[in-house]
Subunit: 553 residues, 2 copies
C-alpha cells in the first residue's frame, strides 16, 4: 500500500552512465510530494538523496535478536566475500548500536510487521569482492524494503555498499528505542564517478585513527575517493622502502609522525572495504621542501648573486639524477598504491629560485627556453609523466599543468582548483573544450571557514555550471572537497570537515535537480546527528540537538 | 648562578591591586633578554606570562618516583585542604603523565641536581581552603625553583593554584623523556580580577563532560570565571527545584538535555577546585522563549491586530505574577550558585511584541511612558534588580541596561559586548565615566571565526584602550571570551575555543606591556601542545606538530 508520499522521479534513462551527469534530464523538476509530511519523516533522512525513492507509511520493525543480513540465493557473492561480511557487521552495529541484543525484547508483532532479513544479491558474475574500486566501478543498486525480507540488488559489491548505507539510513528509532523501517523502494546510482575528499598529512601529521575515522564518515556520505595529499613542503611522512631517508629526515618525527608501509596498507584496505579508492598525491616540482632533507641534490640550490644562498627551491629539473630518482620512487608508488591513478600535483611552482641559479640559466639557454620558466616546468612535468606512464598508471594533475601547455595523454584528469566562480567555470570550459576529463575543487576548499552556515555555498556549487556542449559536460567526472592542513590536525579535523563535506557529497551523488536547500537542511540536520551517533564528531549546522549527543570530549 | 636569560621586570609596585591594571608601569618596555635563546627554550613555554620571571640555565631533574608536593611548615593549609590535595594529584599527573612511576629509573644524579619536592606555603592565616573564589580573591604567588626543594608561597589557596600551574609549565621533557626544570624565580599576580569564559548551554546542550573539560582548560590558562549562559530562547536546561516545569517543558529533552541540581553542584565544585567562579546568567526579559513553555503567563502574548497571534514576546513586565515568579526563581538561584554575582542579561529586547499588545499599551499610558518602550524595559529591569538585591547578590548586566538609563547600584558590573572597536572603547569610557565597574567582551566573541590566525586580533585587543582618566581605568575589572552556541556543541566546542581563548587569557593576566606577538606565538604553540598532551583537543595555530598529538578521534 504505497501512499502519496512519493519521491518518484519519472525518468527512463537509467542506462545513462555517470559521465553523463551534466546532461540534464528532460522532464524538469518533478519532485512531487507532500512537503510537510516529508520533512517531518524520520524515514526520509536520506543523505545523499538517492536517484529514485518510493516510500510508504507502512512500517516494519527490526529486531536486533532476529534481523540478519544474508546472501541471496544466486548471488555471485557469498560468505567468503570479505567486503560484504565486513559491511554486514558494520551496518548491523550502526542500526542496532544503542540496542542491546535483548532476548527478552517484546515479542514479534503480528505476522507481517517485521523485516527479518536483508537479502543481498550481487547480480553480475564477478562481484569484485577481492578487487579494488575504480573510476569505472558500478555503484548502482536497487533496494526493496518489505516484509519479511528486504532485498538489495547490485551488479557489484560497490553498489551493495552504497545500498547498505541507504538501508541503514532508512532505519529509524521510535519513542521506545525500537528500530523501524518503512516499506520503501530505492533505485540509485551516482551522478559522478569521482567523488573525493582530500586530506593533507604534511602540514600536520594525521594519526592513522583520524584518517580511518574520516574514511568511515566518507562511506556514510557515499564518497568513493580518498585523495591523500601525503607530502608537501612541511613534512614527508611517507616511509619509502626504496628511499627511507625521505621520511627519516623529512618527517616531523621519524618514528611517531610517519606512515609505515603497514599503515599505508591498512588505509588502503580500510578504504577498499568501504568502496573508496586511495589516490596518493606526491606533489612536484614545487611543494617539495621536505624532500630535500632526505634526497641529496634533488632540490634546486638557490643563489644570492654568484653564490648559493643555502636555501633550496623546487625539484632540480636539469639533472639526470632527478629523473633516476623519480623513476625509482614512482615505481615504488605504483606498486604500493593499487589505484590506476596517481596525483602528480604540479601546482604553484615558484620560479624565483630557478631564476637565481646559473646552471639553470645555462640549461634554459641550451634548450632555447629563453626566459620562459614555464617551459622549464613543462620540461620537467613532461619527463615525469613519461616516467609515471611507464609504470602503467594514469595521472591526475592540478590545473596549472594544463594551463602551462604541457603535452598530456588524453586520459589525464585535470583537477580545477583556482579562481573565483567565473574563473573556474571558464577553466572547466577550456579543459573540457580541449577534450580532457576534469574534476572540480575550487568551491570546495573546506579549509576556508567563515561564520555561519557556509555549507550552503558548497551545496549550491555545481561542476556542470559552465558554458559548454553536452560532449564537454560528459567530460566532467566529479569533484573533491579539500581540507588543506595549515590549520587542521587531529584536534579539529573531523568537526571542521563534517557535515560541510556532506553538502559536497550530495552535489556529487544526487541528481542535478536536487537543489532545494530547505529540504536539504532538514535532511542534513538528521544526517549529521546520525554521524554523531555513529561516533563522528560532525559539527552542528545551527541551534538544536541530537537525541544522542557526541560523547567524546 | 642566574644567567643573563632574564625576564626580570624591575617593578616595585607589587602593592598595586589588580583593579589598577590599566595604569601603565612607568618604566616602559624593559624586557631585556637574549631573544633567540629564549624562544628556543623549553623552560620558557609559560602561558600566560607571569609578571616577573627570573630564569636560569641551571637545570634539575624531577623523578616520578621521588618527587612530591608537600605542605610547608607553618603553612595555614595542610592535608585536610581538599583544594590543594586535589591540585597536587592533578599537577602530578600533568607533569608525569607520560612517565611510568618506574622504580628502576636511572639513579639520582650527583647531589644537588634534583628537585625532590615543591613545598607549598599558604602565608595568610585563612588559606580559604573551604571557601569559594571571588572578585577580590588574592591570586598572587611567589615561586622559587631550586634544589632539593622548590617553594611556592601564596597568601591564599587561589594563588597557590596559579603557582602550581606555573610550576607545571616550567617542567619540560628532555630527549630521554625525563622531566627537568630549571632554577627559576617567579613573582606573579593577575592584571585583572575578572577573567572569564562564557559558554552557552541553551543554543546547544553541552554535556557535563564538555563543561568540565573546559574548566580544566580554563585552569591551564589561569581563567577564574565561568560565565554560564545557561538559558536562552532555544532551551531551558536548568532544572529548578521550585519550578521544575521550566526544564521539563523548556529543555530540548527533559531527561537527557538538562542540568540537574547534582550536575550544577558538580560544576561549581569542579570549578572551585580550580579557583574558578561560576556566574550563572539567566537572561531576561528577552531571550526567554524557552521559559514560556513551563511558566504560564510569563511571556507577553503578541497580537495581530486585535487578537493574540499565538506567539510570545519578552517577559511580560506588567503582571504582578511575573515579579512573584522572578522573586521565587532568583531566591533559588541565589542559594544554588554561591557566587556573589548573578548575570541578569538584559540584552537585545525586541519591542515589537510589546507594541502589539493592547494591555501593554494601556500600561504604558498609565505609567506615562508614551511610546518609549525602553522605559518599559527599564521598569522591568529596575524591579528585577530590586528582587535580586534582596537576595544579597550583586549583579552583572549587558551594556544595554546601562545604555537605557536604568538606575543601577554603584556595584553593578556592566558587561560591554557591542559595536566595533571605536564603539566599544567609547562605551567603556562612558560606563567608567559614570563610575561603574566594567568588563569587556566585544573583541572576544570567539564564536565568530575566520580563516587563519584570528587569535592575533584577540591578543591585540586591550580593555584599557580607551580615552579616560586613571580613575576610570581602575574601574575596568577584566573581560570575558564568549563562545555563543549557535554553531557549537560537544562535537566542536573545545577545538574552537582553545587556544583562541588562551590569547584572551594572557591579555587578562599578564602585564599590559606583554604585547610581542612573535614571542607570544612561540610560547602559545608550546602551550597549545601542552593542552593537547593534557587531553584538551586545542586546535593548531599553524603548520607544525606536537610531540604527542591529540589521540581522540
Amino acid at each position: 500500500m504505497l501512499l502519496s508520499i512519493q519521491l518518484q522521479r519519472e525518468f527512463g534513462a537509467l542506462l545513462l552512465a555517470a559521465v553523463a551527469a551534466c546532461v540534464a534530464w528532460e522532464d524538469g523538476d518533478v519532485w512531487d510530494y507532500d512537503g510537510h509530511k516529508l520533512k517531518d519523516s524520520d524515514f526520509l533522512a536520506l543523505w545523499p538523496l538517492p536517484q529514485k525513492v518510493q516510500s510508504s507509511a507502512v512500517s516494519f520493525q527490526l529486531s536486533a535478536s532476529r534481523f540478519q543480513f544474508t546472501h541471496a540465493e544466486g548471488s555471485s557473492a557469498g560468505s567468503d566475500c570479505s567486503i560484504l561480511q565486513n559491511a554486514f557487521r558494520r551496518y548491523f552495529d550502526y542500526i542496532f548500536g544503542f540496542t542491546k541484543k535483548d532476548r527478552d525484547q517484546r515479542r514479534r508483532n503480528a505476522a507481517g510487521s517485521e523485516v527479518l532479513e536483508l537479502q543481498v544479491a550481487i547480480t553480475s558474475p564477478d562481484a569484485e569482492c577481492d578487487g579494488f574500486p575504480s573510476l569505472t566501478s558500478d555503484e548502482s543498486y536497487e533496494l526493496s524494503v518489505d516484509q519479511p525480507s528486504a532485498v538489495l540488488k547490485a551488479p557489484k559489491v560497490w553498489g551493495a555498499l552504497r545500498g547498505l548505507e541507504t538501508f541503514s539510513q532508512l532505519v529509524y528509532e521510535d519513542a521506545y528505542g525500537a528500530r523501524n523501517i518503512n516499506k520503501t523502494g530505492v533505485s540509485d546510482f551516482p551522478r559522478f564517478a569521482h567523488r573525493g575528499v582530500l586530506l593533507d598529512s604534511s602540514r600536520h601529521y594525521l594519526p592513522l585513527k583520524v584518517i580511518l575515522a574520516n574514511l568511515e564518515a566518507m562511506a556514510m556520505n557515499k564518497y568513493n575517493v580518498f585523495h591523500w595529499h601525503i607530502s608537501d613542503d612541511q613534512s614527508f611522512p611517507y616511509v619509502s622502502r626504496m628511499f627511507p631517508d625521505l621520511s627519516q629526515k623529512g618527517s616531523y618525527h621519524p618514528y611517531t609522525h610517519v606512515y609505515t608501509p603497514a599503515d599505508v596498507k591498512m588505509v588502503i584496505e580500510f578504504a577498499r572495504m568501504r568502496g573508496i579508492r586511495v589516490i596518493a598525491e606526491f606533489d612536484t616540482p614545487g611543494h617539495t621542501q621536505s624532500w630535500g632533507f632526505g634526497q641529496k641534490d634533488l632540490l634546486t640550490p638557490c643563489y644570492t648573486g654568484s653564490s648559493p644562498s643555502g636555501t633550496y627551491g623546487p625539484v632540480n629539473p636539469i639533472l639526470n639524477t632527478t629523473y633516476d630518482f623519480m623513476a625509482g620512487f614512482f615505481k615504488e608508488i605504483s606498486t604500493v598504491f593499487p589505484d590506476a591513478y596517481v596525483h602528480l600535483g604540479g601546482d604553484e611552482v615558484d620560479f624565483s629560485c630557478w631564476k637565481s641559479n646559473p646552471d639553470i640559466q645555462k640549461f634554459m639557454d641550451q634548450q632555447g627556453f629563453g626566459k620562459d620558466y614555464s617551459k622549464l616546468e613543462s620540461f620537467y612535468i613532461q619527463r615525469l609523466l613519461d616516467i609515471v606512464s611507464s609504470t602503467d598508471k594514469g595521472y591526475m594533475v592540478w590545473q596549472e599543468v594544463f594551463d602551462n601547455g604541457v603535452k598530456l595523454k588524453m586520459d589525464t584528469l585535470i583537477h580545477v582548483w583556482k579562481g573565483n566562480e567565473a574563473q573556474y567555470q571558464a577553466e572547466m570550459a577550456r579543459v573540457t573544450g580541449a577534450g580532457y576529463r576534469t574534476l572540480l575543487s575550487t568551491p570546495w576548499y573546506l579549509n576556508r571557514i567563515s561564520y555561519g552556515q557556509d555549507w550552503r555555498d558548497a551545496y549550491k556549487a555545481d561542476p556542470c555550471n559552465f558554458t559548454g556542449t553536452d560532449a564537454q559536460k560528459k567530460l566532467v567526472i566529479g569533484g573533491e572537497a579539500c581540507l588543506w592542513g595549515e590549520y587542521v590536525d587531529a584536534s579539529n579535523l573531523t568537526p571542521r570537515l563534517w557535515p560541510r563535506a556532506s553538502a559536497v557529497a550530495e552535489r556529487l551523488w544526487s541528481d542535478q535537480g536536487v537543489r532545494d536547500i530547505s529540504d536539504a537542511y532538514v535532511r542534513l540536520v538528521q544526517h549529521r546527528c546520525r554521524m554523531v551517533e555513529r561516533g563522528i564528531p560532525a559539527e552542528p549546522l545551527f541551534t538544536g540537538y541530537c537525541r544522542h549527543e557526541y560523547s567524546g570530549v
